[in-house]
Symmetry: C2
Subunit: 156 residues, 2 copies
């Protein structure tokens, strides 16, 4: 898939990545273009799925989600049969990320819960019910020093 983005698109993406609530008018001023032109570009970026959404980054502590863990999961799935397992994992709200990884382990999953007890409960209630999981290895995060989704925007 080719997104066919030009320099103006990249600058829009860069500014919106930093601040999703920037006004269309401010974008237009910064890029010295008419607001209507910017609005149309933003709509096209949304349509092309270059922009996948606008989210507010919440402080996990403010919503009582203090525990972060990464879990490596091995499955009994055969080659190319991982669809059901990934779907089941993805449906769990506490699971923020599901990656299919190279190497011996099959999946890497990022999970946020209130505390260690609720992680245990989640694993007992949700993970154990996924049939093909054969083993898990959990890594608890003691402290998060950096956590961003900012991508490095090409300069063209």
């Amino acid at each position: 898939m080719n997104f066919n983005l030009d320099d103006i698109d990249f600058r829009i993406l860069e500014m919106m990545q930093c601040n999703a609530r920037i006004s269309n008018a401010d974008l237009a001023r910064e890029l010295e273009m008419a607001p209507s032109a910017i609005l149309e570009r933003v709509r096209k970026l949304e349509q092309k799925n270059a922009i996948m959404g606008y989210t507010t980054r919440l402080n996990p502590a403010a919503v009582r989600q203090k525990l972060l863990a990464f879990i490596f999961i091995r499955t009994k799935d055969g080659f190319g049969e991982t669809g059901k397992t990934t779907q089941a994992l993805s449906k769990i709200p506490e699971v923020q990320e599901v990656h299919h990884i190279a190497g011996e382990d099959c999946f890497l999953v990022k999970v946020r819960t209130e505390d260690a007890a609720s992680l245990m409960e989640l694993m007992r209630k949700s993970f154990k019910k996924i049939p093909n999981i054969s083993s898990t290895r959990t890594t608890i995060v003691l402290e998060t020093v950096k956590e961003e989704q900012q991508l490095v925007i090409p300069k063209m």
Copy 2:
């Protein structure tokens, strides 16, 4: 730290987490309150750092960042001396996350680059220059099934 949030705050956070570009007027209509009251609550949530920012989620492919990897890093840092290493890692723009983890490995780092070649280059140019890194173990992501930052908002 106590954030002292009430149910209305949680509902604001929930709606804004889904869509950072929701208008203040729409929030007010949904919660059946005056726009000025909502605006003040949002400002306070920002001040308290319950809201840490508003970001646009970009498609990594649209900005040519197709490779995702997790790197486990061991260091020669003594107990409580990890400050310089974490700072150096956090400064690298391609490094999206730096976590201090329990267990034998010291850090888990999430990195996005254009491809495998640019990951190698990043490791040669940036990682090798951080003095206390003693070893790294890299896990390449083959496919990302889910990747969100959505937190589960308490229902009070």
